[in-house]
Symmetry: D2
Subunit: 251 residues, 4 copies
Amino acid sequence: MPVVPPSAQYVLTLSCPNKPGIVAGVSAYLFGESCNILDAQQYDDTQSTVFFMRVVFNLVGDTPFERISSGFADLAKTFNMNWTMRAVTQKKRVMVLVSKFDHCLADLLYRWRIDELPMELTAIVANHPRDLVVLARYMQILSEGLSAKLSGRCINIHHSFLPGFKGANPYKQAHTRGVKLIGATAHYVTSDLDEGPIIEQDVERISHRDLPEDLVRKGRDIERRVLARAVRHHLEDRVILNGTKTVVFGD
Amino acid sequence: MPVVPPSAQYVLTLSCPNKPGIVAGVSAYLFGESCNILDAQQYDDTQSTVFFMRVVFNLVGDTPFERISSGFADLAKTFNMNWTMRAVTQKKRVMVLVSKFDHCLADLLYRWRIDELPMELTAIVANHPRDLVVLARYMQILSEGLSAKLSGRCINIHHSFLPGFKGANPYKQAHTRGVKLIGATAHYVTSDLDEGPIIEQDVERISHRDLPEDLVRKGRDIERRVLARAVRHHLEDRVILNGTKTVVFGD
Amino acid sequence: MPVVPPSAQYVLTLSCPNKPGIVAGVSAYLFGESCNILDAQQYDDTQSTVFFMRVVFNLVGDTPFERISSGFADLAKTFNMNWTMRAVTQKKRVMVLVSKFDHCLADLLYRWRIDELPMELTAIVANHPRDLVVLARYMQILSEGLSAKLSGRCINIHHSFLPGFKGANPYKQAHTRGVKLIGATAHYVTSDLDEGPIIEQDVERISHRDLPEDLVRKGRDIERRVLARAVRHHLEDRVILNGTKTVVFGD
Amino acid sequence: MPVVPPSAQYVLTLSCPNKPGIVAGVSAYLFGESCNILDAQQYDDTQSTVFFMRVVFNLVGDTPFERISSGFADLAKTFNMNWTMRAVTQKKRVMVLVSKFDHCLADLLYRWRIDELPMELTAIVANHPRDLVVLARYMQILSEGLSAKLSGRCINIHHSFLPGFKGANPYKQAHTRGVKLIGATAHYVTSDLDEGPIIEQDVERISHRDLPEDLVRKGRDIERRVLARAVRHHLEDRVILNGTKTVVFGD
């Protein structure tokens, strides 16, 4: 069996109330349609009793993908599933909204250019005009209605600290408090600006020598790589919403 | 559905040549025996064409575990599986062999005492007698026959460096080379002493101020936590051998 | 010049209002008394205008240490210094207060037994009796007067999160919030229980599979190593208080 | 005393055979010339008996910097010092040589554009032409003579592994060996291509799911940030050569 190229791979994600038979049902369906499972991860949240699954497969038989996908709807209905099924190489459409600082934008653009992030960039929107990339302006705080509509589809990045700080200029507060680590959090946007379901976090070590501006500089590096990882996880259908949390099926 | 306590959980691990129908077969069997799947991870090595799977489940019906386990043998035979199935709370029997330095032993004993590592300690063997724990002596280098017999069942821990160093006193060599990170590797023992399948690795930052003895001290901390993680992964049936490598289904 | 053994080393730490001439004054004094500087780190907090210094030296001439130490008092007075000077091998006296969970105690005891932490253990005080180590009980919350008296001399360890959580059972809150990292903070005790000057912090990665009890288990590992590092820094006179913060001269 | 802006700061680095009186000599000289020490770190390598020092200071009196710098030569001669003294804001001239892969170049360019790396870019040299940045070609392996001439002034980045691998395609070897961490090393170039004094290293976690091309992708991220840190340390005169090693005075 040769290595299956990405262009022949498909990915199914689903979540539904847990009850016996889901895995058996899904795998029997795929087997019956001559699909070969390449990778599968599942998770049963025993507290919320919600079941989550991600399956990567390729087609061995003659059935076209469209029929496999539409045929899955019956099973999905039986188990009351939220589900998606798509070709791995079908790129998602992405719009980037950028504020004054462009370090994350530059990083995303570079990764997009070298095909590291499988996405189709449809727009870059900024509220600080620059010749190069400015296409439009946006309201920095999304309306509640828009946030709700974008649920699970809009990712934000911001700094994070141990402990957390409320109010303005958290880097200055972190410096005053003398923390030894600073971090960043990527999360889905909800109407509560910094409190959506977390996708990825990371930290970096700092010292007493670091001034608030050094924290800002080191913070940029963490934000770039945390956002890039979160976007990649999202683009590869590795993230499934679980109430106020996420299930992230790692690579 | 209430949270399922560990005492009601069972774990199945298997590896076999990949071909269509494995997942469907396994999940249909478990479903048919009224088993409820709590967690499952699988991996298809497209290079070696070997398939790996780990399933945690509980019993919903009346069929006793022994019958579910023995009944699985037929399916396992069909797919030519290497497999194990056991109760999560059934403790594995562990023997610890310790050389002159006892930092890893002390750490394992503490974790065992507070029930963090689910194992039954059957013997502690050392080649440097101390009143407390010495039960026997052992040859520091296992014979080739014994190594082969212990394949996949004997874990070793040793320091690791970027780049690697050959020969005696690697900490001194690392100091001379001025490395900025030192690490540790836990792996299954093979007849080639330091070259078995790797289970877990980690590193720690060092500086120009660190003397060789500081590297040794910092190395102890890495070795302790790398070994503890590797042992835990092994005890929880998360590690499956894959030729010269391992598949580790993370927690 | 041969390597100077620790038994021949002395350490000076000081902090004082910054003004020109401090380094020149200190180094001229040590040079005049035939002391050889082995390591020195200094830091000028340009915001608080406080100067911090740590010097390790050995004696080349015949002047006994006591005279070098007492003779330093004049210079210290001129610059209005807070200062300490002691032999590196003169062990500090340490009392350990332990609550219900003993993972940090066991770790400190092991490191003390193998001479990794240069301290003299004078007492272990616990509020949960066990045969082995319980010497007394203590009030879990120190009085304001005692906290003030112990300023800079009493180290606490507790879990930390990004973001922080207020109120009871933060591990449960962290699980509900779906954080991807958990951490620990070691700090000097002040009357505000969890808000003293931070000495050391670290984090560990977790996943959606981790239940609150897994967070507690992983938290133990972080707490152990963060506390051990903080205690070591303190014992080696690497930590100097700087208002609500610390200066930590790293190894 | 207000915060001293970088434009008023000067940095002195030196290394010389260790003997008593160096710190006293240097600090007395600076004090005598009305220089105020802002930050100082020193290190005494007791094995090679070489002394290293880095001092940041500003001018309080009227003496111009040029006179302070030239006046230091006498003291430097007495102690047989290798030394440099320069204004912190005086940018170093940097030439970037880039091979086929441009991830590090893109990262350096971005950091240079936002003034994060205080350097003057004089040339970008590549052996794979692109319209945008290619100025010339270069021989991928520097001649021994050129390497010797560039000693301590030319930084290279390459991947690193635990354990190390010899020969072609180390990412493939690392995958075959099943390592759980991959890393990168930034070092000064010597005639022995990958063996120069190490400036900085870091690692990233990988899993059994990662194919060789995933290792390459994750490796890019480590290489970018390790190189950026190494370049920054170099530009800020934080790195001093110590035989086959470096002394890196951290920020």
